[in-house]
Structures are given as C-alpha cells and as structure tokens.
Symmetry: D2
Subunit: 341 residues, 4 copies
C-alpha cells in the first residue's frame, strides 16, 4: 500500500536532518533567541524584499492560526473565512476557543473575493448586536488545491485596506502555490499585499515548522508573549530556525514544492487522458479527480487516499496528495493502474 | 563562554537523531496515529506498570500544562500551585488564558503538602463567590531543584482523593528527579499516586516532546480534540513518538538524567568545600549556590548562568544547570575557577 | 409615532411594580437567597409538575444563553442552532466568547428537526479535527415567530437523547408560544421534553428577568459559581424573584402573553383581508407581513417598526411586535391606516 | 433579627421606585438608547466636569469589572489588584474566565500605592515568560472600608501614566467614600485622575445599576459590543438610566451615602467608647470592630453580621454595614446592646 493521503507521511528532507546533526552540539540560547533564527530571518527578509518584516517560527498550522488571530482580535471582533477554510473546517474550533467567531462565506473554489467580504459586511451591520469583522483569512494554495493570482490578491488586499480589515494568508502549502504553473505571485508580492502570512514548512519537507511573517511591524509588538502563552514557544527554538535556514539558504523550499506539483500534474494528465474530470482545477499538489466508484475500489487495493465527496451513485471525488518525498515509481505505478482500471 | 543557563542549549542525543534518520522515509499516518506512537506507548505502559494508562505526546511543557488543566477543569474550577510553580511563575498566564485562576501557595522548597492545600481550601470556602479548587499542580523535580519522596507524594495524593481534587504532576525534569541520589520514586509509583503526570523529554535529551500520562483512563476521553484545538497536534506526530521510543527502549532516559545530576553534584561538592551554602538543597541538575558577588563576577567572565536572587550587598544566589550534553571538561574548569576565585 | 418595534418598549406590568413597592423595605439575604426566590421557585415547580427541577433567576436572554451553554460544554464541544437562532444571529459572538463554536443549520421556519441535527452530525464526524456537537439550541417561539408542537419537541428530544445531545430551549418569548392558538405545549411538557429551558420575563411584562429551569438536577450542580463568575448574580436577587412570583402566582404571565398575541392576530387578519402575505405564518406576537413599499412608507409616518427583509423592487417584509403593554387604540388606528393605505 | 450584613438587604429608595412608576408606560428605545440615558449621562458629565466622558450603565459590580478589564486588555496583559480587591477575592475568577491573570499585592489597608506597583513591575520583568501588567485596579472605598485621598490618587495616577498603565477605580461604594468625613475627592477629581471608574448604584439606594465612566473617550470605542457580548445589555436599559437620573438630579446619591456613614460612625463611637479597637480605621459604612467573642455571641442573638476574622482565642473582628435604608432605631438598639454586653 502506498500512501497518497497527505504530504506529511514521511520525516524531513535529508538536508534538514543533516543540518540538525551538524549543529547539534553547538550551544544556543533557547526560546527563539538562537543564532540560526537570526540568520534564517535575515535570509527570509531578503526573499520578502522587506527588511522590516517581523518573523517568528512556530510548530504547526493550527497553532499559527490561533496565535495570529487571537493576538490581533479584540474581544468583539471576528475573522472571515471561506467555508472550506482550514480554521472553519478542520481545526476543532481552535479560533472559537480563543473567544472569536469565524464567519464563513460559501465559495466554489475555496477563494475569497471582495464581493464575498462585502456580503459579510452587509450581514454584520447591526452593531452592537453582531460581532465586528476584522480579519480576512485566506489560504494559498487553498484547502481544495486552487491558488490566488496576483491580481486577485491585490484586489482583495485593497478592499480590506479600504474597510479596516486585516488580510491574513495561511501558507500551509504556500510552496506548492508559488511553484504552480500558472502562478504569478512571489514571496515579495505576498509581503506587499497581505498584512500577515505564514510560510508552511511541515507540508514541504520540514519535520515541523511554519514561519509567521508580519508585514506591518507594529502588528507584531508583544507577539512573543502570545507565543509563550499559547504553548508555542519551543525551548529549543533552534529546531525550527535551522530547518528554515536550510530550506531557504538556496531554493530547496521551492524545488521540493515544484517536484510535488510536477508529480501531481503527471497524475492529473493521466486522469484527463482517461476522460475523467476534477472537483477543482488541478493546479498544485492536491488533486480531486472524480472517478467511477469501481475504479476507486480497484485503486484502493494498492493506494491510500481520502474519498472526498460522493458525487452520485456511480462517481465520487477522491483526494490525492503528492509531496517532496513521493516515490516517482509509485506515481508511475498509480498511473498505470489508473489506465488499466 | 560556556553556558550553564539551562538544559536545552544543545540539540538532541545522537541516538535520537540517528533514529529519526533511520525511520525518515517510512510512510506513517499523521496526527499521532503512527506505529512508533503505538510502540512507544506500549513500552511506557510497561514501565508504568499500568496497561490501561492513556498516553499522548506533545511538544512542550507549557503546552502540556495548559492542555491538561483546561481540559479537566470546568468553568468555575481552579488549579492550586506553589508560588514557584511553572504555571504560576513562568508561563505568561497560559492557564488564565484558558479561563482559570491559578491559586498560589507560599512554600520554602517549591513543594506542596496537604497542609498547604488545606489552607487554600479554607480560604476558598465562600462558595459561590470564589472559584472551586479542583486540581493540585506539583512539579518533580521542582522549579528550584527539590524532589518529592514516595511518602510525600502518597500523602498528598491521599489528601487529594479525600477532597475531590485531582493531582497533576509536571515532569519537565522528571528524569532528574527519578535519578537523584535520595529519590525513592519510580514511574510506576507516579502512575499509582497521581491522576495525571507528564514525562519531560525536552530537558533530557529530546529535540522536543513530553509524554502525558493519564492514570485514570476516564479522564482522557476526548483529549485528542483538545490536542488539536490548542494547536498541539503535530501533523508529523512521529517526531515525538520516535524520540520517546528511543529514550525508553532501554535506560537512555535515566542514564542521561543521571549524568546531568552527577555533574551537578560535583559542582555542588566544590561549592560546599569552599564553605558556600545553597538557596535549596542540591539534589538534581539545578543548583542554587549563594556566592560572593565578586566570585560571581569572576565566573561570569567564562560562564553563562542566571543571577537568581539577591541575598544582601555581598552575596547573591545563582542558578547553574547541567544536562545530558554538558561538557565534563567545562565542569572541571568551572570547579577550578571556583576554587581559585 | 407609536412603536411596534419590540415588546420591551415600556416598563413593567403595574402589578409587578406594586409588588416591588410592597416588599421594598423587608430585609432579605442577597445573591438569590431571598425568601421570594424560594416562594417563586416552589410555584414554578408546581407549574412544571417537576418538584426536583433546579431554578435560577438571571437578568436577560443573552446572559442566560451564555451562562447555560458555557457551563455545560467542555472545551471541545459545540452547540447547534438554527441560522436564525438568537445565539447565532444576535448576540455578538457571546457563545464564541466563552470558547465554543455555534454550528448553524439552515431552516425555512426557524425550527430545528431531527434531520437537521443528523446532517450536522454527519458533517462533524471527522474527530478530532472538528468540534463535538453536544447541545441543541432551539427557541420557542422562534426569532421569526413560529412555534413548536408537542410532537415536534418530543421527536427532537428523543433524537437528542439517543445521540448524547442536550436539548436547551430559549424561552425569551415562551409565554407567547404557550398561548398561541395552535399551541399544544405546556410548561410541564417543556420540563419533560427538554434538558434545560428558560422562561422569559423581560419580553412579557417584567422589568427584567429570565427563569432558568434545569430539568435534570445533576446538570445544575455548581451552577451558582457560573452565575457569579459571569457577572449575572444580582446583589439584590429579590428584584428578579419578586417579579416571577407575581407573574406566576396566578395566570398573569399567560394573560399578558395572550393579550399580545390577540392584538397581533387582529393586525394579521387585517393584513390578510387586504390580500397581503407573510414571511412566516402569523402565530404569536411577532408578525412579518409582506407589504408594498408605498404602504410601508405611509405607515412609517405614524408607526415605528423594523424593515425586516427586502423582497423585490415593490415589496418588503416588515416586523411588527405587540406586547402586554400595546395600546389597543393604536392597534385599531394601525389597522385603519393599513386599510386606507 | 436585624441585618447589618450588607448594604443591599432592602429594595430601592422610594424616589427611585416612584420614578419607575411615573415613567412606566412611556415608550422608549431599548438597549441603552432611551431618552433617560441621554439625560442621566448629561447630568453625570456635568458632575464630572468632563463633557467628553463616555458613560454606560450596567447591572452590577462583577459585571462591570469583567466588562471593562476584558475589553481593555490584550491576550497577554494582566491587571494588578490588592489581595483584598474584589476582583481578586470575591468574583469567582471572573477576570481569569475572560483570559487574564489578576496579579495581587499584599497591603495592610486595601489600598495600592506606587511602591506596590513598582514591586509588581519588578517581579514581572522577565518578558515574554510572564504576563504584562497593564491595568491597575483599585476600589474606593476599599473592600475593608478605607478611602483614598486626593494626593494618594494623584500619585498613583501619575505613576501609572509614566509606566503605560491604565488606572481603573471600582466605585461599588463610591458614594460612601466621597461622603466620608476625611474625604477630599470629588467626582470631577476622579474623572481627572483615573482612566476609567464606575459609580456604584446597587449598594447606595438603587435596585441595581452601576455607571461606567471612560475618562478617555478613545478607550470606549466599540464598548457597546462588549456590553452585548457579555450579556450585560438590558433590553429595558431604561431601568438603569432612570435610577441614575433620580440619584443624580439633585444630591440624593450623596445624601444616602452620608446617612449610611453617619450611622456607621455612631456605632464606631460606641465601639471606641467601650475601649475596643478596629481591624481598619472606621471611615465609611463598613466597620470591622474587634470584639470579645462573648460580646459577639450576645450580639448575634439579635443582629446578623459576618464574623470577618479570628484574632485570637478571645477576640474576633466582625463586619457591620449600614446603608441608606438602615433603621436608626435598630442602630440605637445595637449600640445599647453593645454597651450592655
């Protein structure tokens, strides 16, 4: 059985493990004050083309989301998310547990546009009997594999700015978005057209770790307190910074993501060649092909994946995910099995 | 400069890193469902002599404390801690941030005894105008290096049981407690005489990781939800379980802690030989010698450590910590420098 | 201008004010321990036909909802509500502010049925990545004026019981529901077929006050702590209990509600006579007639009410509310103006 | 039995009840938008000599404290209180339930001074491992009957201002403080030398109600949302505003408080005449005489009061409270009984 369920089935890219070994006995300050953190942040700021950005490293995506959102909201404020957004759909009420409502908007492709936000603002106009929307949360790539274009992000950011809303981008799979074929965004553009975003490491080759970027330094003041308070400050913060140092000292981060995308696209081509369609347009390392249930059954004998959504009595959509670690031979085998099924 | 500030200045014990490399490309389920987790839990249950214990692995101590305490308390309930307890003194209001008061008790040695709890219960009798104490939080070894005896733990546990209180033990430095010279506690005894406790990995050779032990399985029902909600569920849970597997498959965990204690005791002997005293009795890998300020100044030229407490115009207490990774030659050098100072 | 905007535009029924004056200088214990509280609870228990019910009086509806729900839920649990439910639509994230998600279900009439709950349970099956539904929140009468039948309530309660869900009924306008023409529920039936509910005083003649009924006494243990903690325990609790004593010592509570309903029905008849329709079936003291905008404009010259929903370019729905205090002559005048408009 | 336990044993001053009756059927907007609110606020602003102050009325003291403090603090910030402060001692963890630590300072007289705050700031210097103190909470009169002088308040406020701390004054018994014999504070002075304070109605003649004063309008922006969210926004807000209108349209508020103080002082004189001492200096309507236990026992036959603190085997301190409603004859009788005891 080979696992296409997700992009965190293996450990870390070997270069990361080697770097951990290489630095292992060098004494460092704890709690994020290690020298590797300073180095990694310097490199990232260059990539962001934003020397004043404030950067923090934490362990995971849900942790990042609850940290950032609860830190920036006042008691009566809320966050807007697509209904498919991770904070709305898959984080066990993490945001609500910090005291804030997640307002959801229906979308077809997992992306929020100014008109979605406008609709929410209209529905939440009866102050003070409703919460006050304050943050717009988006994901890139989204939870259903789609990506934002530069134009889309810019339009959304401008709308947010003109409505006193903060734009926060969840980059759990940012690498896959930025290396997609039709992508025209860069780290520097993200730094320019969001207020806060994070660069996901866990799903792109790190053992664990996400880099939170505050593009407006004034929003980050005192954020260290929150990191500690929510249990997100690792004593050995070096574990996180060393990984980001390795991922970004050259193009490893992008190379790993591109590889995952390429493998996904080869599967997507095979799906299309067989005449099957997709729930959402194949773009990054998450595919949602709609297959005959008999085919799904056959593939299930050798591969693990999620049955994502029932379509009708004969068809269902499945989710296939590739990663930096996906075995090319298994991809070829999967394609063969699909062709034969 | 050599760093005696803490026991998390280096990475991980080499055996742990090797194990991470060895298992790196084996596909595993995410979110704590990996095979290593099952293996590690089985080994720990044997050590605990408690086949029904429920075990979960998370990243750090503050995270563990806030997870366990907020999961077990109802809205009106509170936790009792020594004033020096980590949740009271060093976690940025992490418990209060989940909605609960931390009631503190003054102690001389960082340990809670039935009479301390009795005093709190008397002070918190005016229901419903005060919170209802429900959990007693203790640390072993304590934040000031002392340890509990079997008799002390038993007495406290019996008191808790007869007063509908849960006893929760923070084992961030449990290894050091259990390998101290005058210790008579075991993992099995802890499993018998506490309701919940955790075994700290971060401060004893792991990259990160703590093992939470619910001795009463009924208390652990649904705890996975809380782990996810608080951002503590790692996608690659294997990182935590592999480390505990390695630490407990033989006596590595205890060997590392014993080594730290031994080095600390050699420093302690040198301190005593010079006629200096201690803030608390040297027992584990945390020492609090009271030294002339001039001596402290001299030592500061070559070593990093915390000035813990001013005693008078001439003397102050410092904190020295040794670990599994402490360089023996640096310990010898420190002793020499102390003798000459 | 006469106000049909709501049922809390005036003070209290004169009998209540008289009772406050009559008892004014009798010394009483504070914080809900007054003799009137004991008396009022005894009367209510008789009405509920439930001598073991536990009853508490608090000030308002949002306060009641957040108190009950936050007290009964554990950190990872959530409440299900119709999208029109007050906790979802009109309480400024009060439930989320206590740490819990409100899961909403779309309905056409503001009422939840077992199939709505079943759908939510199916959507929230992926434990532990989603919250755990635990309370079903309904309102009677609903926020759009409809009511539950005995059969509907029973079916929902049985469904809840078989799925480990608590059923909680918001009775802000319970009097109006129980005195509606087609109603077949009683206080005793509510006590039998819900786990917790509250009897609203504020919108039916009291200055302020709601009576919370725990039908299962074990759920109410320690609830006083929560009342105090959330700032809902009045020093002069007598203010609340005296009012409920007066409302329920005979049938005042029901008489006042019936009067409001009767006046609403006379307006409803006039609306129907003119050939207009309603957004929801006129049943209690809240009416949602769909009127030509020109008619609305004309009526707005003499009456205050909410424009509830735009229907199309010519029509809109308005909300009219009558109460115990509504002036009959103003109702007649309104009907006349409507007929002439 | 006559009750000296507290100042909320009776209803409201007759003038207040009369005003409620007089205005009873006048239709008003709900949720604090009634005309009486505008009138009452205008009067109060004149008294405060602060036309820009922002004023809100809510039901009780604990509610006020949790509303103000949770609204003004960010997640990592904390409030400092005397250990005897109501938020620390008597509110069932209401502040912690909103996510914030209450840092306590030991005092002998219930009052905080700059040096107390300085000590706390020194103890909470190890950012980000500790919370960040942000609000200083004081009470006037304090929970043990003492009062602040103008000089003391000014010194504390200046200290707060120079340390980025907000000064918040709990005025549950503010009337009694401002009418004490040795008082030199005024409402205008409070408005000048605090950031926020509240004027307590419940303990000085109102049925219920406290007036929250934001002296810095920018701090009050959006506060209505919080009032609604915490369940503190009464549908019939008129109940609160009408009472404050009546209490402040002339000097009723002060007259009632002065009367309570005068009666307390007559008891205090009798206590002193018998040679007994006090736990704290008799100043306002709360007395803490230290009496022989035999005397206490004798008095307990006819009067209710709290045994406050055991002194030794022969003596204990009791708490006696007088109010606007205290029966003068009962005071005389108490004094007689004391003299004879």
């Amino acid at each position: 059985m080979y696992n296409f369920k997700n992009d965190y089935s293996e450990g870390a890219h070997p270069r990361i493990l080697n770097k951990l070994i290489e630095t292992n006995l060098v004494q460092q300050l704890g709690y994020g004050e290690d020298e590797y953190a300073h180095e990694a942040k310097a490199i990232l700021k260059t990539r962001l083309n934003h020397p004043d950005a404030i950067i923090h490293f934490v362990s995971g995506g849900t942790q990042t989301n609850l940290l950032v959102i609860s830190f920036l909201l006042r008691v009566h404020e809320a966050v807007i998310s697509a209904k498919t957004g991770h904070i709305a759909a898959n984080e066990t009420g993490a945001i609500e547990a910090t005291g804030h409502k997640v307002i959801t908007a229906e979308t077809t492709d997992g992306k929020l546009r100014p008109e979605d936000i406008a609709k929410v603002l209209a529905e939440y106009a009866l102050a003070p009997h409703v919460v006050k929307p304050r943050i717009v949360y988006i994901s890139n790539s989204t939870e259903i594999g789609t990506i934002y274009t530069l134009e889309e992000l810019k339009a959304l950011f401008l709308y947010c700015q003109s409505h006193q809303l903060l734009l926060y981008l969840d980059g759990a799979r940012l690498g896959h978005a930025l290396t997609a074929e039709n992508n025209d965004l860069t780290l520097a553009a993200l730094s320019q057209f969001t207020d806060i975003f994070y660069i996901g490491g866990t799903k792109n080759g790190a053992l664990l770790g996400e880099a939170i970027i505050f593009n407006r330094p004034e929003l980050a003041v005192d954020f260290e307190y929150a990191i500690k308070q929510k249990g997100a400050m690792l004593a050995k913060g070096r574990i996180l910074s060393i990984q980001f140092l390795e991922l970004f000292k050259d193009d490893l981060y992008f190379d790993l993501a591109r590889r995952a995308n390429t493998l996904a696209m080869s599967i997507a081509s095979a799906v299309q060649a067989k005449g099957y369609t997709f729930l959402t347009q194949p773009t990054t390392n998450q595919l949602f092909p709609i297959l005959p249930k008999k085919v799904i059954e056959r593939l299930s004998l050798n591969y693990q994946f999620y049955i994502w959504k029932n379509i009708d009595s004969d068809y269902a959509a499945i989710r296939l995910i590739t990663s930096w670690a996906t075995d090319e031979e298994k991809v070829s085998a999967f394609i063969r099995d699909l062709q034969e099924a």
